[in-house]
Structures are given as structure tokens and as C-alpha cells.
């Protein structure tokens, strides 16, 4: 028997099918592994304490780690925030229900930046997450716990949420696959809201095939979320080995000219683009002229929505309450104590952007930029089937390196935010290793592939072909022993 913690979901399901692995062994291999990365906020005790998931679903018996932003009935759910410490939701998120219905088993709830606000997981109220490739570095964020768990042998797969890059960027920094599907394809019901018009659930996995497997289970319209419509067609399991006949565009603004792009990232990206050509794609440079304004627009729109979404944490009905003499004082003390600095910063930003007299200048302008960016993509997809960019301008940075500089931190999502604003599907796959600028260990670099709305099957197919050609088989050293 091979080490179950090295297997992809499809491989493990194969071994279970031929009897060389049992579902409980698979589960317990993860449940018993020590979490030296701080990836989890809550873990299942072991296979014996968790429903089996049956034998027939597409994910029958698959252990899955769920980002702590998803509500699960009676399971602690904090979204990485002190203000929800001790909160156990009265209901379960649709995405989680769909995974469980497909046979998945709940392995645990993963650590994250508070309310999904961050790109390093350093904004969690419950501690940092370490990058399994170098424990002195961040795993990315906000789905940092999910990416670290999948990369670090603590889960075979996970689901996270992506608002401006929160699945793709940590997937890139941890050397795993992460996909944000088209906005509206997966229900947001039970997914704690950060920025409702941008938030989208998606998988983090060890390979593209597993991503397709999870995506197929997750997608679907939901009467509890009237903005969800599911996928127009079932997600096919990708098998493509070449890119013949595909027109692949390289938007210069998000590619080699991307702001703050590291030399190592540039090299890996250039090699990946050359690889696309070798695989038969018709590759050409293109332009998304307004994409460079993506971060500015995003940091108006997302905080604006967040300022309203986070108003419900008021100490009245659930979560933390700091008792006080008056109502206003209770609100102030509760929210001052319950929220971390980045969350407070974004609530302030968003409140300001929506204030009377500033609305047009900020929220109004940002919405117009959003429309322009969507128009840029629409124009590019007139000429190209897919676009490729680096996922992150940099490899994983050291813990604390950007903690004091929010703007530097915000630039981590430079290449991923435009797709979020346009509601488009995008995947990040490992494309190679590169050292950070200024030297250091070789670390994973992600390639982002994006396509028109609901082109998931095409993106997955292309990603599968590139993945095979890249042959990324690097794994960080796994922590040994039992917890």
C-alpha cells in the first residue's frame, strides 16, 4: 500500500475500488496526522466519529477539509474571527451538503484570514498558518489553511472561497490546484459573506482531475441562493493532453508587465507560455487595458459590501458580546474586541466609500471600472479561447513581511482580482519552482488560466494538458507521526 497521504482523490478512490485501501484508513491517515502548520481550527476525531459517506457517490468516503467560512450545523464555525468564537451554526451550507451528499466525509474546518480578508492567513484571530514548503513563510490567503492542508498532507482536498484571489493565490503559493468557478455556479448559502457580489466557492486539490471531481459535486442552482444557477452542463473529467486548435492570449498587463512581478515568477511563467505553444496552442499577446485598475476598484467594492455584511455581528443574537451600560456602548465594545485590525480597516473603508457625498466618487466609479474590466475580457475572448497569467506576482513571502504594509499585501491579488470583478472562472495550477527575489529556497509558482463565463470544462481540459506537460511532482516534506 502506498502512503495514502500522497494520493490524489482519484487515486485513493481507485485503491479503495480495488481493495488496497479502506475508506477508514484513508480518513484516519489524515485525521491522525499532526497539524504542525496551524491549518485546522477544528478537526474530526477519526473515521469512527464521522458518517461513512456511503459507497456509491462520486466522492464516496473522501475526506474533505472545509474552510471555516462554511456553516456546518452544530460544528464550530468562526470565519477566523474572535467575534464568532464559540458559534455553532443552526444550519449547513449548501456546498457542504452537496459534498456530503456525494459521499464526502468531514475532516475538519481550516484556518483562514478573518472573514476571508487577507492574502497571507496572518489575519486569522486563531494564529498563523505555515507554508509546508517553508514554515517561515505564509501559505497565502485567505484560504491559507485549506491550501496548506492539501499541500502538507493534512487533507486530500478542500474547499475554500475566492473573492479576489483567495483560492487561487494560496493554491499557487502552496503548489496545489485551486479553482474559482464562474460567479453563480455554486450556491453561496451558508458561506459566510465577505463581498457578496464577488464571493465564490471552489476546490483546492492536488491535481486538475480532482478539481473537476469536486467542482462537479459542488455546482448547481439552489433555491436558498437566488443568484446561483449552477453549470449549464455537467463538469467533464478532463483528459486532454494537448492544446491543438486553442487560441491562448497572454495579457501583458497581468503577465510580464504585472506590477511587482518577481524575476523567478517571470521565468516560470515564460516557460509555461512556451509550453502552451509546444502543446499546439496558438499563443499571442493581448491586452486588458483596464485590468491595472482592478485592485483599486476591488478595494472600494469589496469593503463596501463587507461593511454591510459584517453589520450583523453586533452582539445581540449570537457570537461575542461585551456587556455595557448602553446599547451603543455594547455595539462599540463588542465590535472593537471582536474584529481584528484588517477587518476594521475594511469596514472603515467601505463605510466611507458608501457615505453620502462620497458614494459616486468611490462606489460609483469603482462599479464603472468593474464594467470596463468585464468589457476588456469580453473583447479578449473575441480573439482567444483562454488567457494565461501568473497567479501571484511573487512566491510565498516570509511571515510578517507584508503585515505592516496593507498596500503591499493587497498587491498579492493583482493578477487574480480582475477575473473576480468580471465573475469569470479561473484556475491556478503549479507551473514550477522559483526562488524569491533576493534569494531563498525554491518555491511553487502558479499559472492562472481563465476563460469566458461557464467555460470550466475547457479550462480544466487545458489545465490538465499543461499539468501533464509541466510534470510538477514536487511535494513538500510531510510531517511524520500521529497526533
Amino acid at each position: 500500500m502506498s502512503d495514502p497521504r500522497q494520493l490524489t482523490v482519484a487515486e485513493a478512490l481507485g485503491e479503495i475500488g480495488d481493495g488496497s485501501l479502506s475508506a477508514d484508513e484513508w480518513f484516519d491517515a489524515y485525521a491522525e496526522a499532526p497539524d504542525e502548520l496551524g491549518a485546522y481550527l477544528w478537526r474530526a476525531k477519526g473515521a469512527g466519529a464521522v458518517p461513512t459517506g456511503g459507497e456509491h457517490g462520486p466522492l464516496a468516503g473522501t475526506p474533505v477539509a472545509i474552510k471555516d467560512i462554511f456553516c456546518i450545523e452544530d460544528v464550530p464555525t468562526t470565519a477566523g474571527s474572535r467575534i464568532l468564537e464559540g458559534y455553532a451554526p443552526p444550519y449547513t451550507a449548501t456546498a457542504v451538503e452537496r459534498l456530503l451528499a456525494a459521499g464526502a466525509r468531514l475532516l475538519g474546518k481550516t484556518n483562514m484570514d478573518e472573514f476571508a480578508m487577507g492574502s497571507s492567513n496572518e489575519n486569522s484571530a486563531f494564529g498563523d498558518v505555515r507554508n509546508p514548503w517553508d514554515r517561515g513563510r505564509v501559505p497565502g490567503g485567505s484560504s491559507g489553511g485549506s491550501a496548506a492542508a492539501v499541500a502538507g498532507g493534512l487533507a486530500p482536498c478542500s474547499i475554500g472561497t475566492d473573492t479576489g484571489g483567495s483560492i487561487r493565490q494560496p493554491a499557487a503559493l502552496c503548489g496545489v490546484v485551486g479553482m474559482k468557478p464562474t460567479y453563480g455556479s455554486i450556491s453561496r448559502s451558508g458561506m459566510i459573506a465577505f463581498a457578496s457580489s464577488l464571493d465564490q466557492c471552489g476546490p483546492l486539490t492536488r491535481d486538475v482531475r480532482d478539481a473537476a471531481l469536486l467542482l462537479g459535486a459542488l455546482g448547481g442552482g439552489d433555491e436558498r441562493d437566488t443568484t446561483s444557477i449552477g453549470f449549464p452542463e455537467p463538469i467533464a473529467i478532463p483528459g486532454r493532453e494537448d492544446l491543438e486548435g486553442l487560441r491562448v492570449g497572454v495579457p501583458s498587463e497581468l503577465g510580464l508587465e504585472a506590477e511587482g512581478i518577481e524575476a523567478g515568477v517571470r521565468d516560470v511563467f515564460e516557460r509555461a507560455v512556451a509550453l502552451c505553444e509546444r502543446l499546439g496552442a496558438d499563443v499571442a499577446e493581448t491586452s486588458l487595458p483596464n485590468a491595472r485598475h482592478g485592485i483599486s476598484a476591488y478595494y472600494v467594492l469589496a469593503p463596501a459590501e463587507a461593511s454591510a455584511n459584517l453589520a450583523r455581528y453586533d452582539g445581540v443574537r449570537f457570537g461575542m458580546r461585551v456587556e455595557a451600560e448602553s446599547l451603543d456602548e455594547m455595539y462599540e465594545l463588542t465590535r472593537s474586541a471582536g474584529f481584528g485590525p484588517e477587518v476594521k480597516r475594511r469596514i472603515m473603508l467601505g463605510t466611507y466609500a458608501l457615505s453620502s457625498g462620497f458614494y459616486e466618487a468611490y462606489y460609483g466609479s469603482a462599479q464603472r471600472v468593474r464594467t470596463l474590466i468585464a468589457g476588456d475580457f469580453a473583447a479578449a475572448f473575441g480573439d482567444f479561447d483562454l488567457l494565461v497569467t501568473p497567479t501571484s506576482p511573487t512566491v510565498a513571502f516570509e511571515l510578517g513581511a507584508r503585515a505592516a504594509d496593507p498596500l503591499a499585501m493587497y498587491m498579492s491579488d493583482y493578477c487574480t482580482v480582475p477575473m473576480s470583478l468580471a465573475g469569470l472562472p479561473a484556475i491556478s495550477i503549479p507551473a514550477g519552482l522559483a526562488p524569491p527575489d533576493g534569494g531563498g529556497p525554491e518555491l511553487p509558482v502558479g499559472l492562472q488560466i481563465t476563460g469566458p463565463a461557464f467555460s470550466e470544462s475547457l479550462i480544466l481540459d487545458a489545465a490538465h494538458a499543461i499539468e501533464g506537460a509541466v510534470g510538477f511532482d514536487h511535494r513538500p516534506k510531510l510531517a511524520e507521526g500521529r497526533r
Binding site: 453561496r188 436558498r224 437566488t226 454591510a308 453589520a311 450583523r312 453586533d314 453620502s356
Partner: protein, 477 residues
């Protein structure tokens, strides 16, 4: 120096819709249930929950909009209205803002500015002396009401006195009741009304600074509150002061107005489009269908009463604008082929309403049936009972019910045999030759003595008009 000051009043009405479930979740709506039994994660604002719009509520709102003659927007959106309060679990209310469901309507001569849909807040009760949140020892929240579908109707400032405001609100209530979309009960809060009040010199085209009046939770309080506010503003202006824009809370006990603390209303609501909901986009066909399915509304009914039944405008209005009274009237008209609708209308809006009110009832709730009232008016028209007798019969009908002809007989109120009456008149003329002579000589008032004598003789049962006619006939006048 003091030019005449005239008030201008605009109303802002909130109507709770009578849907089975709440605006954005599946919780049942039930007035008077145990606190917090009709709640779920959505209407408690739990993390991760999303609103799902109630189709029935949208249909009802469109029905209201077309009944008020509004233009329904082909595409209107929901917005978030942000403020912190314990009765607002999400910290924002889902409402409509720049593009409401409907605009530009008219009811009873008052223009409707807009009609929009939103969700109601939960119910707060404050334990303590004032009944308001400041200074109370504790506050309790009942989330049963939270999320009830609410339609807000805003009028233009087209009303010019407090009584007219009250009458207009009654017309709106009847209209809404007729649509079957709401209980429209002010005491239970399913109909709520705020008023914007300002005054200005009669000659000035520009409106004065307005104040907003809240908490007038009955028709009487609306009238009293607006009256008090007009008086307050008049006093300020007449003593050379300026009215300040503010929100005032009406205290029904003392009839007084007190300013709300600025914190209780001064908000920047930071409206922005609700990202969790698609726009409301009713098809033109759906709006046309809603319009076609409207019942006869009070104003149309009033016009019909005037044109087809010949009722005087005021009587037609009083009947038509009161759905239950109108139904009573129409049933009486159908039952009483012999009685003229105009006479029936007068009896119903006059004596019947008055007698019912003495018992604290609506006419329909008394023992008098529409058919019996019609029969009574028929007896009167046929001269078989006089006005005074008819009123006595009506009293019996209201109290005990019964058949008017039988009551006339039982109480011996019949006007009697016409020949017998003529004989009594003849006798009266013979017995008071002096009065008869005066009447003959043109002294009209003298006829009173003769009429009085006949009425004494008939114990008041004779019809006064008929007696006068007979006296003049027998005196050859």
C-alpha cells in the same frame, strides 16, 4: 402683518402584506403568536444566510401599485439601507431606493409619489418608564414580525388639513382592504402612517420647512397629531421664529409632540444595491393582468353611486369609501325593489350608522339586516309609517332584528286609514276655528296648532307632511 398661513401635509404609509410567509424566508406570519416562534437563520440574520424573495409579496405590491394608478417600473432593484438597531438583525434593511417598484399614481385627488417593497423590522419592547429605548432598563426583541413584507406608499404634499388627511387615509385603507392584500389594522400595526407637515403663507408658492411626525397609530391620532403640529408651527412662525426640520414623536396620552433624539433618526443610510438579489422585473403582461383583475375600488364605486343611483356626492362618498357600509347598502338596494336607492342611502348613512355607533358597532354587525332596512324604507315611502315611527322601528331592528311590518303592527306605529285621518283633520279644524281663520288669512305659522292637534289625536303616528296637505286641502288653500 400676518398673512394667512396654510398647512401642507404629505403622508408616508407602511402596509404589512397579508402573505403566508415572510418577505425573504419561509417563516409563517402570524399576529399575536408567542415571541420568537416564527424565526429561522435567515430572518435572524445568521452568518451565510441569503434572502429569497416572496413572489406573493411582489404580486401584492404590484396589485397595490396598479390600484393606486401608478406606473410599475419594468425593472426595479433592492437596496440595502444600513443602520444598527437591535430590531434589525442584519444591520441593514432590504428596501428599495433609487428605482422603486412604482411611481406617479393618484388616489382621491392626492398624488402618489412612489410605492416600494421592503422588509419590516422586528418588534422591540422597552422595559421601563418611557417605553422608549433611552432610559429603559432592558429591551426585548420579538423577531416574529422581523421580515414581514412591507409596502411603503409615499404621497406628494397634496393634503391641506388634518381632517382631510384622516379621510384620505381611510380611503386608502378601504382601497387596500378591497384588494385583500393587508389587514390594514392601525392598532395591530399592519397599517402605519407618518406625516410630513409644513406651513406657508397662502400667497407663497414655496413650501415651508417640514417636520416628520411619527407614532400616530390611529386615525384619530393622525388628525390630532397633525393638528397639534400645525398649531405648533403656526405659533413659531407668528412669533417670528423659524420651523426647524426635525422628527417628532406623537404622544397620544398628552396629545403632545416631542423631538426624537438625533441618534434615533439621524442616519446616513449608505444605500447600495443589494448584491444578493436579482432585480424585480415584472412583465408588461403580468402588470396588465394585475390591473385587469382589480375589484371595483371605492372611487369607482362612488362615481357609480352618483351616476347610476342618483346619490348626492357626499352620501355616495360616505357609502363608497366604507367597504362594509357599501356592501350593506348594495344588499339593501338589491333586496328592496320598492325603495329608492337615494332614500335607502340616506337612512343607512344617517340613522342606521348613528344607532349602530351608539352600540359601538358597524351597521353590518347589528341585528338589522339589509333586507329589513330596505323593507322599512319601503313602508315609509308607501306612507304606512311616518318618519318618527320608522326611526322607532329601526331602533328595534338594530337591537333585536325582526320584520319591519310586524314591528309596526306590534308597536302600533301604523299611519292608519287615510279616511280616518281626513276625519280627524276635519274635527281639528272645527274645534279651532280661530287657528283655521288665521291660516286662511295667510298666517302660515298658525297651521302648527292644527297639525299639533292632529298629531296628538293620532299619538304621533300620522305623517306630518300628509297632515299639512290635508289641512290645506280642507281649507281650500
Amino acid at each position: 402683518m400676518s398673512a394667512e398661513l396654510v398647512p401642507t401635509i404629505g403622508l408616508e404609509i407602511h402596509v404589512q402584506l397579508l402573505t403566508r410567509t415572510k418577505m425573504f424566508c419561509g417563516c409563517e406570519l402570524e399576529f399575536g403568536a408567542e415571541p420568537n416562534v416564527h424565526t429561522c437563520p435567515v430572518c435572524l440574520g445568521h452568518p451565510g444566510t441569503l434572502p429569497v424573495p416572496n413572489e406573493q409579496a411582489i404580486e401584492s405590491a404590484i396589485r397595490i401599485a396598479v390600484a393606486l394608478g401608478c406606473e410599475v417600473a419594468p425593472r426595479s432593484g433592492f437596496h440595502r439601507k444600513n443602520y444598527f438597531y437591535p430590531d434589525l438583525p442584519k444591520g441593514y434593511q432590504i428596501s428599495q431606493f433609487d428605482v422603486p417598484l412604482a411611481t406617479a399614481g393618484r388616489l382621491g385627488g392626492v398624488r402618489i409619489h412612489r410605492v416600494h417593497l421592503e422588509e419590516d423590522a422586528a418588534k422591540l419592547s422597552h422595559v421601563g418608564e418611557t417605553g422608549r429605548i433611552h432610559g429603559s432598563g432592558a429591551s426585548l426583541v420579538d423577531f416574529n414580525r422581523g421580515g414581514t413584507p412591507l409596502v411603503e406608499i409615499v404621497t406628494e404634499p397634496d393634503i391641506d388639513d388634518p381632517a382631510a388627511a384622516r379621510e384620505w387615509l381611510a380611503l386608502l385603507r378601504t382601497t387596500l382592504r378591497q384588494l385583500g392584500v393587508s389587514d390594514v389594522n392601525m392598532e395591530e400595526g399592519s397599517l402605519r402612517c407618518d406625516a410630513n407637515v409644513s406651513i406657508r403663507p397662502a400667497a407663497s408658492p414655496e413650501l415651508g420647512v417640514k417636520t416628520e411626525l411619527k407614532n400616530m397609530n390611529s386615525f384619530r391620532y393622525l388628525e390630532r397629531g397633525v393638528e397639534a403640529e400645525i398649531a405648533r408651527q403656526r405659533e413659531i412662525v407668528e412669533s417670528g421664529g423659524a420651523v426647524e426640520q426635525e422628527t417628532l414623536h406623537f404622544d397620544p396620552a398628552g396629545g403632545t409632540l416631542t423631538p426624537l433624539r438625533s441618534k434615533e433618526y439621524a442616519h446616513d443610510y449608505r444605500y447600495f444595491p443589494e448584491p444578493d438579489l436579482a432585480p424585480v422585473a415584472p412583465s408588461a403582461a403580468a402588470v396588465d393582468a394585475a390591473r385587469a383583475s382589480l375589484p371595483e375600488l371605492p372611487e369607482q364605486r362612488r362615481d357609480r353611486y352618483e351616476a347610476d343611483l342618483g346619490l348626492k356626492p357626499e352620501v355616495a362618498r360616505r357609502l363608497a369609501f366604507d367597504a362594509s357600509l357599501a356592501a350593506f347598502f348594495e344588499e339593501a338596494v338589491t333586496a328592496g325593489s320598492a325603495s329608492a336607492p337615494a332614500a335607502l342611502a340616506n337612512w343607512i348613512t344617517g340613522d342606521l350608522v348613528a344607532l349602530a355607533r351608539e352600540r359601538g358597532l358597524e351597521p353590518a354587525a347589528t341585528a338589522a339586516t339589509p333586507a329589513a332596512v330596505a323593507a322599512l324604507v319601503g313602508l315609509l315611502a308607501a306612507g304606512e309609517v311616518n318618519r318618527g315611527g320608522a326611526r322607532e322601528v329601526l331602533e328595534v331592528l338594530v337591537r333585536d332584528g325582526g320584520e319591519p311590518a310586524a314591528i309596526v303592527d306590534r308597536l302600533d306605529l301604523g299611519a292608519g286609514d287615510p279616511d280616518e285621518l281626513a276625519a280627524i283633520v276635519k274635527r281639528a279644524i272645527e274645534e279651532d276655528a280661530d287657528a283655521a281663520a288665521k291660516v286662511r288669512a295667510g298666517e302660515g305659522k298658525a297651521i302648527g296648532a292644527l297639525v299639533g292637534a292632529v298629531m296628538r289625536e293620532t299619538r304621533g303616528k300620522a305623517d306630518g307632511g300628509e297632515v299639512t296637505r290635508l289641512i290645506r286641502e280642507q281649507l281650500d288653500l
